[in-house]
């Protein structure tokens, strides 16, 4: 049985950021994920926003982690080479009735320690965002808000962790703990047992089930709260700001935001679902989305949609531990007393993406507090090298890239201008992209207005060639999601039953 110092369950942004942070130390770390790729849960379907931190209630872990993490993002983006822009964000009041809420948010932001916030007039808001509703009555401006590509963040963190010695096992599902007395000594998985001294439970939607297996927090439950989104064609309309409505008690509301890919993103709504694997988009949800979006930007048109998707927030029911703070959906970041060797990261919904770097640092503190002697590696490599992105280059740079490697000359995705060279780099990358969706998340291929109609047969062909597998076994997102059934020359004989 292979043994590790730390096993991290879950390769979402929290798990990957934790793996990267732990890779600074002389620890043997294993990161497992049940899916065919990392980042397939909430990390790949969210608003892609690095929050300033005025939204969570003061005193909550959500507020602390958010505000602690926000300033870390610039350095992180530099080291890990992922795109990040600190554009700031607005909470836009519509009609006179909402202005009072802005003041309350401003107070909350100050209490949380968010720097630089102030309110602006309706005229100033109209000046900064010409598409804004004429009914705006003013806005709250938070200059430290930012936007990122959450999948790029997740993969960059994971790749850097691997560079620094972390082992990654995909398609590997946690099935139970190996416990001796009160101490966790390993885990059972779908691919055998692994020994360890520590388990970090970063299982996202399933973090409750993982801790229950260790007999911890039986009352803790994660509910899948669906958020639906629409992405708009950048050729039709481009909103370059991050615009929130005035929040309700249960969510930040339906926002309209710029993305780093230039397309405007609209969403999310919030709906609790009984099924943790329900990723469908609903007609009612779409109607709700457009109602919310048009309230901020009346000129947005549903027909400009180029993609719709739904993400699931892992919404927990843990009470805030700070005395006097009445809040029932806080993060769980703890070493529980019931067993030895477990770190729980549970209920990490929004602002979980923003908070991930601070949560990872908190894991280090918790381990130190538990008596773990952490020694920094002398050869830790903080820089994760970037790979070329053809569409971001000037024509001269494109020309020299193609001269160096001719595969960068063949455009496979016409809408997003993704080349065969980029696809090859990901298939043979540090965390090999072996499915269509894995390539899509890494290169942004197939996300444009033809939704992969052009590139799909070509990518299936490339994957088949590079992985040396028949085209019929190439998948969209792992086993069971094959694109093709058989060659036209093959004949299927009907089953006798």
């Amino acid at each position: 049985m292979d043994s590790y110092d730390v096993i991290i369950i879950g390769g979402g942004v929290v798990g990957c950021m934790t793996a990267r942070t732990l890779s600074r130390y002389t620890l043997r770390v294993l990161l497992i994920d049940q899916e065919a790729d990392i980042g397939m849960g909430a990390s790949s379907a969210n608003s892609a926003i690095v929050h300033a931190g005025y939204d969570p209630l003061p005193g909550t872990l959500k507020a602390k982690m958010n505000v602690a993490a926000n300033p870390l993002w610039d350095a992180l983006a530099g080291e890990l080479n992922f795109p990040f822009e600190r554009r700031g964000d607005y909470v836009v009041a519509v009609g006179p009735g909402e202005l009072a809420r802005l003041d309350k948010l401003l107070e909350q932001g100050k209490a949380n320690g968010v720097p630089g916030m102030h309110t602006i007039s309706a005229d100033e808001m109209r000046h900064r965002e010409p598409n804004i509703t004429p009914d705006t009555s003013g806005a709250l401006w938070a200059p430290t808000g930012g936007i990122c590509d959450p999948f790029a963040v997740t993969i960059a963190a994971a790749e850097n962790a691997l560079q620094n010695g972390v082992t990654l096992k995909l398609d590997t599902a946690f099935t139970g703990f190996i416990i001796e007395g009160k101490k966790i000594t390993g885990i059972h998985t779908s691919h055998g047992d692994f020994g360890c001294r520590w388990v970090v439970n970063a299982a996202g939607m399933y973090a409750d089930e993982v801790m229950h297996q260790a007999g911890v927090r039986p009352e803790f439950q994660i509910t899948a709260r669906r958020g639906e989104y629409a992405i708009l064609d950048r050729a039709e309309i481009t909103i370059s700001n991050v615009l929130f409505p005035v929040p309700s008690n249960i969510s930040k509301g339906i926002l309209v935001t710029a993305t780093l890919h230039g397309n405007t993103l609209v969403g999310p709504n919030a709906e609790n679902l009984p099924d943790k694997e329900e990723h469908s988009v609903s007609p009612g949800g779409m109607a709700e989305l457009w109602e919310g979006a048009k309230r901020l930007i009346p000129s947005l048109q549903p027909r400009h949609t180029i993609a719709v998707f739904a993400g699931l927030r892992a919404s927990g029911n843990a009470a805030c531990a700070t005395p006097g703070v009445d809040y029932g959906h806080d993060f769980v970041i703890e070493i529980p007393r019931e067993v030895e060797g477990l770190v729980n990261l549970g209920g990490i919904e929004s602002p979980g993406l923003t908070a991930a770097p601070a949560i990872a640092l908190r894991v280090v503190e918790l381990l130190k507090d538990a008596g773990e002697k952490l020694t920094e590696k002398h050869d830790f490599q903080p820089i994760r090298p970037a790979r070329p992105i053809f569409r971001h280059l000037t024509h001269d740079e494109q020309a020299s890239l193609i001269r160096r490697d001719s595969r960068y000359g063949r455009v496979v995705c016409r809408c997003e201008l993704v080349t065969e060279g980029e696809i090859m780099a990901e298939i043979h990358g540090p965390i090999p992209a072996t499915t269509y969706d894995a390539i899509k998340r890494r290169t942004w291929l197939g996300t444009g207005r033809c939704l992969g109609g052009f590139d799909m047969p070509r990518v299936v062909d490339i994957l088949s060639r590079e992985l040396k597998i028949p085209p019929e076994t190439v998948t969209k997102k792992g086993p069971g999601s094959e694109f093709l059934i058989r060659s036209t020359k093959d004949v299927e004989v009907a089953d006798a039953h």
Partner: protein, 425 residues
């Protein structure tokens, strides 16, 4: 052959529109003509259209797509037209500078005296019709499935539901059935067929494939691969009729829900796009608002027949050669074409009346609503009739062609605009 830095005429795309434009440009005196094609073979989408139905108007005989394309490929090569394959144009400027890249030629920078856009069209996707449900493997546009079956030789499913009664969808229903798949049903949200009647008869009726009008897909079911779809009836405002939802087990949903001209490059060059056709605004010489940039074929508006694409390509190629040779006057006196009663759009969007001296000018249009009775299609100057013709019906799925006769020159010359109405007789 090495690629030159300058060409008289550069054509983007080697589908039927591009091939015809290049051939006609050469025939009209352009010396250096280059076609840039992103695929490894010339011919465009025709190469995957192995069914017949091509060539009746141009050649007077029925041909499969690849044979139709081959005719023009051979003519182009014989005429000395240069063909740059496996090369994608990534940028064009209003001054007709073209940047393209390929695996073999690197990044190429070419200056064209005249440029013909013939990038064709792309298929509408599930997002554009806002199809709810999950995002599994097994949801494909009909054209993508057609490429897999006809070009690559792979079946993308066993049991199909097809959404949309467009031509590609109906043709694929027949094709998949012949390849051993089961097409459960074809759903059409409109109360009428959107493709050609002949395809309904030959592809659906002859194979016993049911067509359900006023029906759509309510949601897609299945997380990894499509397991079923839920169909639902819609009312006249496309709203679901409660109680009509039905789960139809299938492993593949094909979408044939319309085509959109592909104009991302056109926009980069500052070409004005007509919001109705989603293609460039063009005049009767198929010149766009940017002097020296022409457009031909489905990039302008989506045609019913490839033969008409070829004819549009000829016209654009002729104008492009004239421009390159400086025979085409720079100044245009455009008379706008106005879409009147029950007319959705007209191509060209404007005409130069001086061209009427050379001959009739052809217009093509689509109606908004189907009229199943005898109709009048009338061109007027807004008040007085210029010409009109009769038709047995007018349907949105079928383009109506009519001409402004040369003899109408005097009347047209005085008009500030021309208007077309399609009305019941």
């Amino acid at each position: 052959m090495p690629i030159k830095e300058k060409y008289d005429v550069v054509v983007i795309g080697s589908g039927p529109g591009g091939l015809a434009a290049a051939i006609e440009a050469k025939k009209n005196g352009a010396e250096d003509v280059l076609i840039i094609e992103r695929d490894v073979e010339p011919g465009g989408i025709l190469l995957q259209c192995i069914h017949s139905g091509f060539g009746l108007e141009v050649f007077g005989k029925d041909m499969p797509g690849p044979a139709y394309a081959q005719h023009f490929i051979s003519d182009a090569l014989t005429a000395g037209i240069e063909l740059l394959l496996d090369t994608m144009v990534i940028d064009i400027t209003p001054g007709r500078r073209i940047f393209a890249c390929g695996k073999h030629g690197g990044l190429i920078d070419i200056q064209a005296r005249a440029l013909v856009l013939s990038m064709g069209c792309r298929e509408r996707t599930r997002a554009q019709i806002r199809l709810p449900g999950t995002r599994p493997a097994g949801v494909y546009t009909a054209g993508t499935a057609q490429r897999w079956v006809n070009v690559e030789g792979y079946m993308p499913g066993r049991n199909f539901v097809i959404l949309g009664s467009g031509d590609i969808g109906m043709i694929m229903a027949r094709r998949l059935t012949l390849e051993g798949a089961k097409v459960e049903q074809v759903l059409e949200v409109m109360p009428y067929l959107t493709g050609l009647t002949r395809n309904y008869v030959q592809c659906l009726m002859d194979f016993g494939i049911p067509l359900h009008l006023s029906h759509t897909v309510n949601r897609i079911i299945g997380n990894k691969r499509v397991e079923a779809i839920e169909s639902i009836q819609v009312d006249e405002r496309w709203q679901p009729v409660p109680g009509t939802a039905q789960v139809v087990p299938c492993d593949t949903l094909l979408l044939s829900v319309g085509l959109i001209p592909e104009n991302e490059l056109s926009r980069k060059a500052g070409v004005k796009i007509d919001p109705i056709t989603a293609g460039p605004w063009v005049d009767d010489g198929f010149e766009t608002n940017v002097p020296g940039i022409f457009a031909a074929g489905n990039v302008v508006h989506v045609y019913d027949l490839v033969d008409w694409v070829t004819e549009a390509g000829y016209a654009a190629g002729r104008s492009a050669a004239q421009f390159a040779l400086r025979e085409r006057e720079k100044e245009r006196r455009h008379i706008p074409m106005i879409a009147g009663l029950n007319v959705r759009y007209i191509v060209p969007q404007a005409i130069d009346k001086e061209n009427l001296k050379e001959g009739d000018i052809r217009l093509q249009l689509r109606v908004t609503q189907p009229l199943e009775k005898l109709v009048w299609i009338e061109i007027s100057d807004g008040e007085n009739s210029i010409t009109r013709k009769r038709a047995p019906y007018a349907r949105p799925g079928e383009i109506i062609t009519l001409t402004i006769p040369q003899r109408a020159y005097d009347q047209v010359a005085k008009a500030g605009q021309l208007r077309v109405d399609v009305t019941k007789r």
